[in-house]
């Protein structure tokens, strides 16, 4: 929903601007439309690339900047904060977030704050500090700030939030490419790769591609099995434990 809303905003902005002068267009693509999580999955590197089509094919003297954002499905989260109570660290305080992205990676050709102002960055959610985490519990503003920072920090260290300013390469002002890492801890679902063309502090064009992250083969089977056939799954686990234990005992007697 929110992706669609943002896209609409972006298109609206582009449309309004487009009324005055012909605007450049973006033709984006990603190296993989599908990421499959298999037994050996330790993460993936996604290449986001594409072309900037200027009207009339004329590349202006001061070429525009590119920001690419890779975003995972939103999650409803509860975040708990540990505090020392009677010498023991335990979860004391908590905050809920209604829809925080499970994954967010952003790359740009220059540091984002040099390209756009605070407001524009907030509208398009460009940068980790501009993410809308939608806190839904009744904490006060100071606490929400603290929890939001904690959430961002935790996700950065888990490789789920990534910021790579200056890592988008633009060749001849026309072709751009960026690599973003997908951590092994990502959740499955539909991811979006958004590309923004920015000049003079304004977003001139935006385009979206979807990437499907899913478990495949054995891993998918296991997840489905555990979820849909819990009795059979449990029995399989028990049977596996019993037979391995007995087999080892039997073999040990032979040796």
């Amino acid at each position: 929903m929110r992706v669609a809303a943002r896209l609409f905003l972006a298109l609206l902005a582009v449309g309004l601007l487009g009324a005055t002068a012909p605007q450049p267009k973006l033709v984006p693509d990603v190296s993989q439309r599908e990421v499959e999580i298999r037994y050996s999955f330790t993460g993936a590197q996604l290449l986001l690339f594409g072309a900037i089509l200027y009207p009339g094919g004329k590349v202006p003297a001061d070429p525009a900047d590119i920001i690419v954002v890779l975003r995972g499905p939103s999650q409803q989260l509860v975040m708990r904060e540990k505090r020392q109570v009677a010498g023991i660290w335990l979860n004391a305080n908590s905050a809920e977030f209604r829809s925080a992205p499970s994954f967010y990676a952003v790359a740009s050709s220059r540091p984002i704050r040099d390209m756009v102002d605070e407001r524009t960055a907030a509208i398009y959610e460009l940068g980790l500090d501009k993410l809308q985490l939608s806190p839904s519990s009744l904490n006060d503003g100071v606490e929400i700030d603290r929890f939001s920072r904690g959430l961002t920090d935790l996700r950065i260290r888990n490789g789920l939030f990534v910021e790579r300013p200056g890592s988008v390469r633009i060749t001849d002002g026309v072709l751009y490419q960026a690599t973003l890492p997908l951590s092994a801890r990502v959740v499955v679902g539909t991811y979006t790769a958004e590309t923004f063309l920015v000049r003079d502090g304004r977003v001139l064009a935006a385009a979206v591609r979807e990437i499907e992250v899913r478990k495949s083969g054995f891993e998918r089977l296991m997840g489905v099995f555990a979820d849909r056939q819990p009795v059979l799954y449990g029995l399989t686990a028990v049977a596996m434990a019993l037979s391995l234990g007995l087999l080892a005992g039997y073999l040990a007697q032979r040796i």
Binding site: M79, L90, L151
Partner: protein
């Protein structure tokens, strides 16, 4: 060799997990304990979510206790009646444990409770074991036999209503006592992923006053059934049993258990008990420090 765990949703070094299972199996074979008390904390230290760790460790205990039960059954050192009562209590305990688990999870205190329970349980049992085994060692060095403990059950047990005869254990007591013991071990298995042998064996000896020959066999018998039940309950409620993780752990632990059993025949049991007491105390101290130290992560996230 990295392997992706489909339920835990992360990849682990497969050889490391097999090795971990192997060490735990070695200890469990040497000391005759389930070893779950080591698996769960070590898996948590490694970064596996506590729930998945506890749920998958239970099936490891199943695997490492089955061959023990088999040999005890063939030597007739299992009190089946006593074991049956305790299994019944254990089943009630796993269901109670599941309810406690979900309540604690909702209020966000499951991790603290797991750690606290570990500290309390391992600390007290470790101290008891250390005291008893060092006493036995000293007596052995002096060349005197350790003073024989008078076998009798705790006065509280005698106060319970109803009495059954447990021939193999040499007891005429209320079945409620082993039933309650079973419940406690069921709850602990569900929460901590341990077999509960740690609690059961001393309790059977010192609270119930069972005959020593049948204590190990009967506790293994109970552990076997309770860990199987735990695996089932986890599969049905938390859905946190990871078959790949369990397989890796089992692979190591069943092998380690066999090696451990052979090693244990070459070492005097008095020394073994001192070493076990030491390991138990180290784990307890490490967990206690973990509670008091400022944790690496102040924040934790739960997906609703």
């Amino acid at each position: 060799m990295d392997l992706y765990l489909p339920i835990a949703n992360l990849s682990v070094n497969a050889l490391l997990i097999v090795g971990l299972g192997g060490i735990v199996g070695l200890l469990s074979g040497m000391f005759g304990v389930g070893g779950g008390f080591l698996t769960t904390p070590l898996l948590i230290f490694y970064g596996i979510p506590p729930m998945v760790a506890a749920a998958s460790a239970a099936s490891q205990v199943t695997g490492s206790s089955i061959s023990g039960v088999y040999s005890h059954l063939s030597r007739d050192t299992v009190d089946l009646r006593m074991g049956g009562v305790m299994v019944a209590g254990g089943l009630v305990g796993t269901l109670l444990g599941a309810a406690i688990f979900s309540v604690l999870q909702r209020i966000g205190q499951i991790d603290t409770v797991i750690a606290l329970l570990y500290v309390l349980m391992l600390g007290s049992i470790g101290l008891m074991m250390a005291q008893e085994s060092i006493g036995a060692l000293v007596a052995m060095k002096r060349g005197q036999p350790a003073p024989a403990r008078r076998r009798r059950h705790h006065p509280l047990v005698a106060a319970l209503p109803m009495r059954w005869r447990f021939y193999a254990s040499g007891l005429y007591i209320s079945p409620l006592a082993p039933f309650i013991l079973g419940i406690v071990s069921g709850i602990l298995t569900m929460l901590l992923g341990i077999g509960g042998g740690f609690v059961l064996v001393p309790a059977m000896l010192y609270i119930l006053g069972m005959q020593t020959q049948v204590v190990i066999g009967t506790s293994l018998f109970q552990i076997l059934f309770v860990t199987m039940a735990t695996t089932m309950v986890h599969s049905l409620t938390t859905k946190a049993v990871d078959l790949v993780l369990a397989f890796l752990l089992l692979l190591g632990s069943v092998t380690g258990a066999q090696i451990g059993t052979r090693l244990s025949m070459k070492v005097r049991p008095e020394y073994l008990r001192v070493v076990l007491a030491f390991i138990v105390l180290v784990v307890a101290i490490r967990m206690a420090l973990g509670l008091g130290w400022r944790p690496d992560e102040i924040y934790t996230l739960d997906i609703l």
